[in-house]
């Protein structure tokens, strides 16, 4: 048992004033909640709910409602976060109802309600457990008072309170009213891992039934009396801005209420890191129905013009910076030429160990390879959208957003309305992948609602969504390895860059495993906006590094897993440098597990294997991918995956995450690319942007977790980056040719 102080998160536990005079009855809406059990039995609803803390309320019949704080975009937090709370509350999962919490910065401090960086469970682990444990403690104290026995003698199990000596028992529901009056305990006990009954067991998606029956739950499904539909038209190319809009024709179209321009960010606005926006000035079209607005949008006449170089202040992760936005209409062909040029030149050194220059000079063999990857669009299946209703100085918002706390500040600044007057309802998101951390569309929706003085649902078309920017950057990495006459790796050099950022993590493996190591970085400025995309930077560098290590292992005459394990052994026992950001033993652990589970070394005829491993977002992943050739085309037959993410909260859901990340990675490795000509994205919809489909997906995926007692880390991103290397290495076995440039199969063929 662990004793834990509740103080740092106390705001979550402060009770509302309404509670002071007695138990608070909370309004309950069946339509906005989900029964955890998802099975046939329907829970009997209580007559009264008692608000215990921000995360949970208990009904007089023992049914518990848990409010899940973080926005859900498919990563399963809406199930797994309540599982963590329910575990410490010690309640039967069958009696739990889950609701999505609205955004409330003061109440939900355990996770800040930010979904991104694979950090939700990791960051929330302690606070969520505390929410459950605090409520349990209050119930115990209520029972102790009622039965006049010491609180230390009360035990709990599955929503029941027991006092063994007196033989007294009561359900949580019976004590809920009294528990709500108990002062919040100063410290609480957390369970030992071995006593977990819910954590570590697979529980079904709490929204499963609603999803398969098509219930409204996404931002696009939002409706309100009098609501209008809005769309936007943004410049057709990066490097361009609005010159003038002729809105008359569009205004005259059937069902159209208004057409006007909006400016979502003022020129002198100091942007936060998630205020990325290449098109702050755009045209808004508002009407009665989606189809009418779509048609009016086609009738819109606007003139766009190239903008001049300009600068803006961005207060992002690197602190406050003046950022220069270059003028010009960029193209993929010129990006490639510039990147190839910079890859040849010396760059900024971000880490140097030993004497790499001399080691390369004395090498028996030097291998040098360059890897590249294009921009990628996130392509969430639910296009960007948001509901907004601005009434005077009150703002009602609802829709898909990964970081509500960040964009609330921007909305507040732009509308000059205090954050206290802004309410954000978090809807289930049709995908996120990093894209919905950038909430410009919320500011747009709010401005449009304010202008037309009505509730508005802003809808992006697929084309608007795909061409708005905030892409995964285009990257390049050049690797050099020095081998001595015995095939030992004596020096390693990575020089990476991209448009507009470098993908290099200088302190990540194999840094720390090689005496002579050099990391260099370069970048090319661009006016094409970029943003976080499932495992930023890692999503390229992992594949490049793991492909290169495969080639080096082959040149050294070594088995690729054995080669990596030898390097990790060195990093574990005698690490080079002190800033290495990984745990070599855990890294080796996933390679050893995948070697065992994949029966590595047992070749099958016409099956081509590639291995790859990577560490990011505090989680370790290794893949062995089996490829077959069908009609001259590669097809992924099987992926065996080993993961160390510490304690696995919801194993089947975590496996689902890994399966999805693997499939996503295979798709992007084979086909993914966004290209540009004269500043304009060349792909605007799924007829030209190739996405992986059923016939191309892996036939089978086996996911294995390293048994662990370590606090849980993230699952959304880590299985994604290494799959690119596994694909490349298996492709080499199948074709005898190394794949250096993504997408490996080209981006042209589209199967609609």
């Amino acid at each position: 048992m662990t004793l834990i102080k509740t103080s740092y998160n106390r705001r979550s536990f402060l009770k509302t004033s309404a509670l002071a005079g007695g138990g608070l009855m909370i309004g309950f809406n069946w339509l906005t909640s989900c029964q955890a059990a998802a099975e046939e039995e329907v829970l009997q609803m209580p007559d009264e709910w008692f608000d215990i803390n921000a995360y949970l309320k208990i009904g007089d019949n023992g049914v518990v409602t848990i409010l899940s704080p973080n926005p859900e975009f498919g990563q399963n937090v809406k199930t797994s976060m309540p599982m963590i709370i329910a575990e410490e509350l010690d309640v039967d999962w069958k009696n739990v109802i889950v609701e999505q919490a609205n955004f409330n910065a003061e109440r939900y401090t355990a996770t800040n309600q930010f979904s991104g960086g694979s950090a939700g469970i990791r960051r929330g682990w302690e606070g969520l457990r505390m929410a459950g444990a605090t409520a349990r403690q209050m119930l115990c104290e209520a029972a102790a008072a009622a039965w006049e026995v010491p609180v230390g003698e009360i035990t709990t199990a599955a929503g029941m309170l027991h006092h063994e000596a007196s033989g007294k028992s009561a359900g949580y529901g019976e004590m809920a009213s009294a528990a709500a009056q108990i002062p919040v305990p100063k410290e609480v006990e957390l369970k030992d891992n071995k006593d977990f009954k819910i954590i570590g067991t697979s529980r079904k998606n709490v929204d499963g039934k609603k999803i398969v029956t098509g219930q409204p739950m996404f931002g696009v499904d939002k409706k309100k009396e009098g609501m209008l539909i809005a769309m936007i038209a943004h410049p057709p190319a990066f490097g361009m801005q609005l010159k003038s809009a002729d809105t008359d024709a569009a205004k005259g179209m059937p069902g159209i209420r208004d057409v006007f321009t909006i400016k979502t960010l003022q020129d002198d606005y100091e942007r936060a890191g998630f205020d990325t926006n290449a098109f702050p000035e755009m045209i808004a079209i508002v009407g009665n129905s989606t189809w009418e607005v779509m048609n009016a949008k086609k009738a819109l006449k606007a003139e766009w013009e190239p903008f001049s170089e300009h600068s803006m202040v961005v207060n992002g992760w690197g602190g406050k910076q003046e950022v220069t936005i270059p003028a010009g209409l960029e193209s993929t062909t010129s990006h490639r030429e510039e990147m190839a040029k910079l890859a040849e030149q010396p760059a900024k050194v971000s880490r140097k160990d030993g004497d790499p220059e001399t080691a390369f000079k004395n090498a028996a063999q030097v291998i040098e390879r360059t890897y590249t990857a294009p921009f990628l669009a996130h392509n969430c299946m639910e296009p960007m959208n948001f509901f907004a209703h601005v009434q005077g100085d009150k703002v009602e918002l609802a829709g898909p957003i990964q970081g509500p706390g960040v964009i609330e500040q921007t909305v507040s600044a732009r509308l000059d309305i205090p954050v206290e007057n802004i309410e954000i309802e978090l809807t289930r998101m049709g995908g996120g992948f990093g894209r919905r951390a950038y909430g410009h569309y919320i500011v747009e929706a709010a401005l449009i609602s304010q202008k037309v003085n009505a509730p508005v649902k802003l809808m992006y078309t697929r084309e608007d969504d795909m061409t708005f920017g905030i892409y995964r950057p285009s990257y390049s990495a050049t690797y050099r390895a020095a081998l001595d006459e015995n095939g030992n790796l004596t020096a390693f050099h990575v020089k990476g860059g991209g448009v507009p950022e470098s993908p290099v993590f200088a302190n990540r493996f194999p840094a720390g495993a090689i005496d002579n190591y050099l990391a260099e970085e370069w970048s090319i400025d661009s006016n094409i906006t970029i943003g976080a995309f499932r495992a930023p930077r890692s999503n390229f560098i992992a594949g490049a590094e793991q492909s290169f290590l495969d080639e080096v292992a082959e040149a050294a005459g070594r088995d690729p897993i054995e080669f990596r394990l030898e390097l990790l052994e060195r990093a574990k026992n005698d690490p080079v440098g002190e800033r290495n950001d990984y745990d070599a033993a855990r890294y080796a652990g996933v390679l050893e597990l995948v070697r065992e589970k994949s029966n590595w070394g047992q070749e099958q005829p016409n099956v081509y294997r590639g291995v790859s491993a990577y560490f990011c977002h505090a989680t370790y992943v290794a893949h062995v991918l089996d490829l077959v050739m069908e009609n001259g085309k590669p097809r992924v037959e099987n992926v065996c995956c080993a993961i160390d993410c510490g304690i696995v909260v919801n194993p089947d859901a975590a496996a689902n995450m890994a399966e999805g990340a693997i499939t996503d990675g295979v798709g992007n490795a084979f086909f993914g690319a966004m290209t540009f000509k004269d500043g304009a994205p060349e792909k605007k919809n799924f007829d030209t942007y190739r996405m992986i489909r059923m016939s191309e997906a892996p036939r089978n995926i086996d996911v294995h977790f390293v048994p662990s007692d370590v606090d849980p880390t993230g699952m959304g991103e880590p299985p994604f980056p290494p799959i690119f290397g596994a694909v490349a290495n298996a492709m080499y076995k199948a074709t005898d040719k190394r794949s250096y440039h993504q997408p490996f199969l080209g981006d042209q063929e589209v199967l609609g």
Partner: protein
Amino acid sequence: MAVYKLNINGKKLQVDVDPTTPMLWVLRDHLDLTGTKYGCGIAQCGACTIHLDGNAMRSCQLPVSAVGDQSITTIEGLSENGDHPVQKAWLEHDVPQCGYCQAGQIMSAAALLQNNASPSDADIDTAMNGNICRCGTYTRIKAAIKTAANG
């Protein structure tokens, strides 16, 4: 604008809309049947899949004027209590991640099984290739289709 009498999920419904309006928007904007999703508008992603006289159809490319007296089934009408074998199999395999494409996937799968009670892997590949799942749940979708076929 014109008045259309439609047969949707076994009910007679009437709308007054522009004849070119795709069924997708008739369902979503005018009939509050929002289970059918918009994904691309050009019949490339399958999120808007409905059944037209029992066959899978992309509703974003189906003008309301072309429907006539053909019967339409949407995800909301696939079964009375969400207990169609495909829906049950989806829950058993806990298929969805974000869930946005799944109504379309389920409608395509249900139409496939209606015409082919025990589809091969190749049959499933062909029937489901028009439905994009950005989360990459294809392996579970395939497993669930097989469960539904055997159930």
